[in-house]
Amino acid sequence: MKHLLAVTALATGILASLPGLAQDKTVVSFLHKFPEPENMAYFDAAVAEFEAANPTIDIVMEAVADEPYKDKIRVLMASDQVPDIYFSWSGEFGRKFAREGRTLDLTEALKGPEWQGRFAAASLEPFQFEGKQFGIPVNVDSKYMIYNKAIFEKHGLSVPTTFAEFIALNDALLAAGEVPIAYGNQAPWAATHYIGDLFAKMVPDEVRQADYQLLAPADQLYTHPGYVEALALYKSFGDKGYFNSGANAISHQQARGAFIAGRSAMVYLELVEFYMLADTPVAEQGWGFFPLPPMEGAAGRNDLLTGAPDGFLISAKTEHPEEALAFLNFLTSPEQAAKYVSTTGMTSAVIGSVTEETTTPETLAGLKALEDAAGMALWLDTDMDTASANVILAAGQGLLSGDETPEAVMEKVRAAAKETLAQR
């Protein structure tokens, strides 16, 4: 009995002293959306390395997957339990946080010498709101049409350089009995990547930006005919059979699998998916990529690539801004960025981190194409206001199933945008 009491007392003493030990450290909470094993391998190592170099800082990291992250961050925001450092997509998704004053202004901090020349302006710009930097980019991504070289060679086809050639290519593949494009639109963000790219090509840039950010007068929002034309073009892809049948019932992952298995000639993939094609049947057959080609005579910009950087924000209410910034500085240092690229297969927004040593030749070429582009047309569903984006998300499915017309969709977008504008 005495022994039991002694052990209990000892255990109680140890437990009581633990909070004391923890209190000696500055705890910085860090929430991101990269829970995949290869990503966690990097983040776990990075946190351990940072904590070893900064023994007074304790990084409490939590990772949830892409979709649950959208729920979790909203719950944390609504309950005012915002982590010190948290992930955000760029564009309107991040601007929402900045608009409501939930992010720390990093404009001055990023003027420090250690930050100079670290990021391209195109990566920083999507994390700016009203001239202030509210986030730090961590990776960059863009969208490309991937093609199966064996299928192209079999039918004597070549990479299109104009949109008209791209249409002709699809017609040729269709005539040859091939499924031109593997497409999974069950989660309708996939549609917004096509539609967003077409909007960028077919609507003048200043008009599109004014619409997306609700800066245009209410009666002029989304009135440019390019929107309807872009939706009609997207719909025609489905109607003509360029996409596989039943795209609305297939996930993006299944579509990617179909392309990998050689059941389609092309698939629209993100740069960060390139590494998934290694050691697959399509890798043996050979694959290449090209951005959706420029559209002759279109009113918008042909020199933009659809894509966006992802990044990290610091909570406006953090009690440890310096420590949080120090961690982000460490995480986006050239050395760490190189480790991030080589460990995860992702790209990095840090200039010089994606090299032949850290990634595949295809990813390197994809990043080069992104650097050569004049800018990015951000993911549509994170760039428009939420209500308007939701209309487009549903319409991406409705246009394919024949339940929506381009005109009706844009009418709904206008109504949603006007309502959001009225509430601001």
């Binding site: 959208k70 729920d71 909203r74 719950v75 925001m77 609504a78 005012d80 929402k96 946080f97 608009r99 409501e100 939930r102 639109n185 069950q186 989660a187 309708p188 596989n244 049948s245 039943g246 795209a247 609305n248 019932a249 297939i250 996930s251 299944q254 179909a258 939420t386 209500a387 939701n390 549903a394 319409a395 499915q397 409705g398 394919l400 199933s401 339940d403 929506e404 509430q423």
Partner: protein, 300 residues
């Protein structure tokens, strides 16, 4: 006078004891059920987003907006269809299956095999069921499509989850596949409680199996029928997980139900007040069904 006073004191003491016994459960209910329900009703009178800490009082505007929202009509219709089909399958068909398996028509081995096979889906997680059926229903490469092609029924082939006309029915079908066996097991227990003498008496009188079903089994398990019907209707009203996993309410909101609509409003559209309005409507529909159940049980 003293007697009455003692009696009253004893009753009061007994009553207090009773209250003390139920106090923890009552407290739990108030904190986790009634409190949030009332708070939710208050939320429904405001317009606010998850990002912002500013709340705008909008009165009943959220309710007016919901009333004119075409997605609400779609969701309500889908919930109603879900309930009708679920009651038909999970009460009607499950009762018939239970009666057949309990009627000793099949040898014990076959009956046990059927019972296990029918019950098995209900022990699987909904997410797993949803994902597996999603693969089975995949156009072209899915097993269902392959079977249709192989059996000369290619004209029936379609993107079951990708077409607005079929998406909700495909989800409802999967739900019936999962839960009919479970309800059947409940009915089997209820049927076993019906005295065997009654069946034997009717058999001696020359009654057929169908007559025994209508005149002994159905009246004998009517309490279970009522409870199961109410549970099934409430389940159809609250359904969320299987729809979210299989279609997420798509394509183009065609398979939206109240649960997915509420979730989408809160966690995708950042309209917490509007989402609370949908939750309040679900709450009052469920409350009405609950009251009907209490009334029906009292009438017996």
């Amino acid at each position: 006078m003293t007697d009455r006073s003692d009696h009253s004191r004893a009753t009061w003491r007994q009553s207090l004891q009773g209250w003390l016994w139920v106090a923890p459960a009552l407290l739990f209910l108030v904190i986790f059920v009634y409190g949030p329900a009332l708070t939710n009703i208050r939320f429904s009178l405001f317009s606010f987003s998850a990002m912002s800490l500013d709340w705008d009082f909008v009165g009943l505007n959220n309710y007016l907006r919901l009333w004119s929202d075409p997605k609400f009509t779609t969701a309500l219709t889908n919930n109603a269809v879900y309930a009708v089909i679920s009651v038909t399958c999970q009460v009607g068909i499950a009762l018939v299956l239970a009666a057949v398996l309990e009627a000793r028509i099949f040898p014990d081995f076959s009956a046990n095999l059927f019972r296990t096979a029918l019950f098995l889906p209900s022990i699987l997680p909904v997410v797993v069921v949803g994902l597996v059926w999603q693969l089975l229903l995949t156009p072209t490469t899915g097993l269902i499509d392959q079977i249709l092609w192989e059996t000369g029924l290619a004209s029936w082939s379609r993107a079951w989850l990708g077409e607005p006309d079929t998406a909700i029915f495909a989800v409802i079908f999967v739900s019936q596949w999962q839960w009919t066996g479970y309800i059947m097991a409940l009915f089997m227990v209820a049927i076993r409680a019906v005295p065997r003498d009654l069946y034997e008496a009717m058999e001696i009188d020359g009654a057929s199996g169908v007559q025994q079903f209508w005149h002994i089994t159905v009246p004998g398990v009517r309490e279970t029928i009522l409870i199961v019907t109410i549970i099934t209707i409430l389940g159809s009203l609250k359904v969320f997980d299987i729809v979210w996993v299989m279609t997420a309410g798509g394509p183009n909101h065609s398979s939206e139900v109240l649960g997915t609509m509420m979730y989408r409003a809160a966690f995708r559209d950042d309209m917490i007040g509007y989402s609370s309005t949908i939750a309040t409507v679900i709450f009052f529909i469920a409350l009405t069904i609950g009251l009907v159940q209490i009334k029906l049980q009292k009438d017996r």
